[in-house]
């Protein structure tokens, strides 16, 4: 780790002000940022911890929308997002207890790791990412691996999830990291089905449009029978080929449909 300054403001305004500095970077649970700093792959001049901002923590539900503060950790979501059971279940499967008690939803979405779980939930839920300065529709938010629509110094303050009729997240774990080798989040709303897939694509989390259409017409795994995800944009690595991941997209989508409740 290199030396850095550390500030821990208690309001969003103070945090935003502190982040005006070019070298400053927000810190939430630190489950991604701290390891990369320890390996000297990342060297922020100032860490602006968001953990002191109580207003960014917690979960509320009103008018069919579940709102999660940007600095809410995974363990809290697992325990308290009962209004959206598939989301609570997703949070309960992230990492291990230490990770779940530190890592946050805002950190996860801002980081947009191509194998992370929350991006699939947000995209499948048509969520709105609320920041200190604006609201971003999730379809505009993710812009490829590790890239989002966030500006420098912009922080996620909350995420609004419209609660679906039924939903399920099915994660097939990468054997080493236990992140998603391929994870599929399926939701069914009155106006249609959304399918978001993480872990599989070179472009990061994506929606599987053909499956959404077929499942909107017939919400059953059988509806997927004739469909296939093309393997050309899929990831090939030590843990699976593009072809295997494309296959898993379909298998996990079918399982999510079958398990949705």
């Amino acid at each position: 780790m290199y030396n850095f300054d550390f500030v821990k403001p208690s309001t969003v305004e103070e945090a935003v002000a502190a982040l005006q500095d070019d070298e400053a970077q927000p810190l939430s649970g630190g489950q991604t940022l701290i390891p990369s700093m320890k390996q000297r792959l990342n060297a922020p001049g100032t860490l602006v911890s968001l953990l002191g901002i109580e207003a960014l923590k917690g979960i509320s539900s009103a008018d069919g929308v579940l709102t999660i503060g940007g600095v809410t950790n995974h363990a809290t979501v697992a325990a308290e997002a009962g209004a959206y059971p598939a989301l609570a279940a997703l949070a309960a499967q992230i990492g291990d207890p230490a990770v779940r008690n530190r890592g946050t939803i805002g950190g996860s979405l801002a980081n947009n790791d191509p194998a992370a779980c929350y991006p699939a939930a947000a995209l499948a839920s048509g969520a709105t990412i609320v920041t200190n300065s604006r609201e971003i529709a999730v379809d505009d938010f993710f812009q490829g691996m590790f890239t989002t629509d966030l500006e420098e110094g912009e922080i996620i303050t909350s995420v609004k999830f419209p609660i679906p009729e039924v939903a399920s997240y099915q994660k097939f774990e990468q054997p080493a990291s236990r992140f998603a080798l391929t994870g599929v989040f399926v939701t069914k709303y009155a106006d249609g089905v959304r399918v978001a897939i993480t872990g599989a694509s070179e472009e990061g989390v994506f929606r599987w449009a053909e499956a959404e259409e077929a499942l909107t017409a017939n919400f059953s795994a059988d509806a997927l029978a004739a469909l296939a995800v093309p393997s050309n944009a899929m990831i090939t690595d030590l843990h699976g080929t593009a072809e295997y991941r494309a296959h898993l997209c379909k298998v996990m989508t079918g399982r999510a449909v079958a398990a949705a409740h």
Partner: protein, 788 residues
């Protein structure tokens, strides 16, 4: 009788300190004024190193000194402990293994420079300011490509990348080939034994310390064998005589072989401490461990089994490429040869065997012994080819094995690969395994799995290992550059308590619990009267340490011999006090009595007399009660067993889950059944890791792809089922005093072929026959095998 003597499942006394955070590991040691070293390691696999510019770095804050290869002129290379003689009678090619890269870089992770600074961060900062001038060379990674005539050479001074071409038994080659020519059936299998990283929980640590007042050096290190490190480092690398060098390996958090070897970092810290007159400490990060701890396995093998028309094995031949990595680590050359070739008979009567091994240098981390060392590689290929033969011939794999077993009445049995098994009963472990695994009830479980849309398979494997390493005169003939005896000093204190100073080292094996059980049994006192001291060359006799499942068989035997001397002397003292003759003294339940009388003395009366020799035969007997014994075994020990694995496969994803696992072992006599069960469970977990998860992978440029836990999959509790462990089949070893065989490696040896045989069986039963699948059988690989 003591209530916790031999055979009692006493809880491990050491666990109290480990589980409550009171262990004292090397990294817990901090010496006053210590400096820290950060090693600058190469991030390229193969390069000519033209220069190292330290001018900016050396003036950075806190930097005490920067070392490069030039500072080690006059210092030896890291020695190799075993010389292999090849098929043509020539010695292996043995390149220098420098402490730091000398003009050439040969693997990712090789040390190029070392920065010693007041703090670790200062050392790391300065290392970043070092400028390397190098020209990258094409990397040599694939073993078969490495031995082609036009391959780039890892070591220019050698004739090729071939370390040795070993044939065993060379004189049998023609007869073996002839047997294949007339065989009724030949089964041929090509396979890979995947490269592994041991990953003990505690990474390696070294602290060098120098005392100017007596010109002596001390090394604190994470070692399985501090005396071996003292010998190798003192005599061959740094030129420090043993009486000026102390090596301390305190609590060690797992070794699995990878902490046997002498590493450059140990020599560096000892050397730098003397140069700087300051303690110098290094603690490996996990990232460093992946690229600097010796790796394990990495064999590519073709094996062939010849059978006659009645399905008797008539001959076996193998062709193996064994990866040495860039340099020869301490025991590396012995692993694919004497620890592998000699095991190729397995549990079978195969009369003719020929093993060829080509050991190859590549631009990768050195490869050496890892739990089982050579024996898992032998067992895997043999038990795979036997299973494959059974399938090809349409016979039950259990029965094909039974038919070819060495029978109970044939022991001692001399195999065609130079070893003589003293005892064994392979049918007994097979029958026990079949019974405990409910082999007969498999069909019911298969039907249940099918109903759930899953594939199910059952696989078995038998193993034999050669443990209790090893008779020194024999291994000396085979090229070992050390003896392999073990030692113990038994010190009885005046008030009767006992301290045993052993050359064996405990780093998870539970010596501190099981060794006292033996002494308690011999004397008839409780084990808590006995303390085990190990891990410090200053207070233990010269011993060779812990590996090769040798602690109880060799170290325990030394302790028994020393205790026998103690008892003999104590009886003389008792005889004197009781005014009887030595021969009439009996020791039972901690009491000396004169046979046929009611005259007796307690253990403590005699020990006190030894140190307060008022009424004592001083003319004939020295005072005191302390004895040392060195034990050199007359043969290896040969544990064996039957492992049966049952798996389910999810056909949609290819994911394999282990549903049942049974281990029926013959370890001879057993001191502490609970510890033995734990050793088997741990070994099986590692074997399951190798079979399903673990794979150390390089790309063709020599970059380590699986360089962290993000990509190197370790087994976790959820990957390992409840394991049924049985060791009721016992054919005691005939040549050591305890009749013990050793159990440390069995689990890791027997389990991989059982798992793979089960996976292939499942595919076969599901109408998706696959002849072979290489480890680890990841979901992606299984799915691909079933769908292509």
């Amino acid at each position: 009788m003591p209530k916790d003597g031999i055979g009692a499942s006493t809880k491990r006394r050491e666990d109290i300190r480990f589980l409550t955070g009171k262990g004292r590991y090397t990294d817990d040691i901090n010496l006053r004024g210590q400096a820290y070293v950060h090693f600058l390691r190469s991030d390229v696999a193969h390069a000519t190193l033209n220069g190292i510019d330290t001018s900016a770095a050396k003036d950075m804050p806190g930097v005490l000194r920067i070392f490069t290869a030039r500072d080690f002129d006059g210092v030896g290379g890291i020695p190799c402990g075993w010389l292999i003689t090849d098929r043509h009678g020539q010695p292996m090619q043995e390149p220098k293994h420098p402490i730091m890269a000398e003009g050439k870089i040969r693997h990712v992770g090789e040390i190029v420079a070392a920065v010693v600074a007041e703090t670790l961060d200062q050392a790391r900062d300065a290392a970043e300011a070092i400028v390397l001038d190098y020209d990258e060379l094409p990397a040599v990674i694939d073993m078969k490509a490495a031995v082609q005539a036009d391959a780039p050479k890892v070591h220019e001074e050698l004739t090729s990348n071939l370390c040795y071409d070993w044939g065993f038994v060379e004189e049998n080659k023609a007869a073996v080939d002839a047997a294949f020519d007339v065989a009724a059936h030949v089964t041929t299998l090509e396979l890979v034994n995947n490269r592994l990283v041991a990953n003990p929980m505690e990474p390696r640590v070294a602290i060098g310390d120098y005392a100017a007042h007596d010109d002596s050096s001390t090394l604190y290190t994470t070692s399985q064998n501090p005396h071996v490190i003292r010998l190798l480092m003192g005599a061959f690398v740094l030129g420090i005589p043993e009486h000026k060098l102390r090596v301390i390996a305190p609590d060690v958090g797992g070794g699995f072989g990878t902490k046997i070897f002498h590493y450059a970092e140990e020599a560096f810290c000892t050397f730098a401490a003397k140069q700087l007159k300051l303690p110098v400490k290094w603690t490996s990060t996990r990232s460093e461990a992946f690229m600097s701890d010796a790796h394990g396995r990495d064999h590519v093998t073709k094996i062939q089994l010849a059978l006659d028309a009645d399905n008797n094995f008539t001959a076996l031949r193998t062709d193996t490429y064994a990866n040495m990595g860039a340099y020869l680590s301490t025991f590396a050359p012995s692993v694919p040869t004497w620890l592998h070739g000699t095991l190729m008979a397995g549990n079978y009567r195969t009369p003719l065997i020929y093993v060829n091994v080509k050991a190859v240098f590549t631009n990768t981390v050195p490869v050496d012994a890892y739990r089982g060392a050579g024996r898992p590689e032998a067992t895997f290929q043999l038990e795979r080819v036997v299973d494959m033969a059974a399938r090809e011939l349409g016979v039950d794999p259990a029965e094909l094995r039974r038919q070819n077993f060495i029978r109970k009445d044939q022991f001692p049995y001399a195999t065609p690969v130079a070893v003589e098994y003293d005892t064994g009963d392979y049918e007994a472990t097979l029958d026990k395994g079949l019974e405990l695994s409910d082999y007969a009830g498999f069909a019911t479980r298969l039907a249940e799995s099918k109903a759930n849309g899953k594939l199910r398979g059952i696989g078995l494997a038998h193993y034999i290992e050669a443990c209790g390493i090893a008779p020194s005169n024999l291994v000396g003939q085979l090229g070992a550059r050390a003896g392999l005896y073990e030692s113990a000093t038994v010190r009885v204190n005046a008030t009767g308590g006992i301290v045993v100073m052993t050359g064996s080292h405990s780093h998870g094996q539970g010596h501190e619990t099981s060794f006292p059980q033996v002494i308690a049994q011999m004397i008839g006192i409780e084990p808590d009267q006995v303390e085990i001291v190990h891990g410090d060359t200053a207070n233990t006799p010269m011993g060779m340490g812990t590996y090769g499942s040798r602690s109880i068989a060799v170290g325990g035997s030394a302790m028994v011999r020393a205790t026998e001397k103690i008892i003999a002397k104590a009886k003389k003292i008792a005889a004197h006090i009781l005014e009887a003759s030595d021969a009439d003294i009996e020791l039972k339940d901690g009491k000396f009595s004169v046979a046929g009388t009611d005259k007796s003395l307690n253990w403590g009366d005699v020990t006190l007399a030894a140190y307060v020799p008022h009424n004592y035969p001083l003319k004939d007997l020295e005072p005191g009660l302390e004895e040392t014994a060195f034990y050199d075994p007359s043969n290896f020990t040969y544990p064996s067993g039957c492992y049966i694995c049952e798996v389910e496969i999810d056909p949609d994803t290819g994911k394999v889950t282990i549903e049942r696992f049974t281990a029926a072992d013959d370890f001879g006599n057993i001191i502490n059944p609970m510890i033995v069960e734990g050793q088997v469970q741990g070994g099986v977990a590692q074997g399951i890791g190798q079979a399903l998860l673990e794979n150390c992978s390089y790309d063709s440029d020599g970059q380590l792809l699986s360089a962290s836990y993000m990509d190197y999959a370790m087994p976790r509790a959820s990957d390992v089922p409840m394991i049924t462990v049985d060791h009721s089949c016992q054919t005691p070893c005939t040549h050591n005093p305890l009749g013990v065989k050793g159990c440390g490696e069995a689990g890791a040896i027997g389990s991989p072929p059982a798992v793979i045989n089960a996976v292939l069986d499942a595919m076969h039963r599901a109408g998706k026959p696959v002849a072979h699948i290489d480890m680890p059988v990841t979901p992606a690989k299984v799915w691909a095998a079933m769908n292509h």
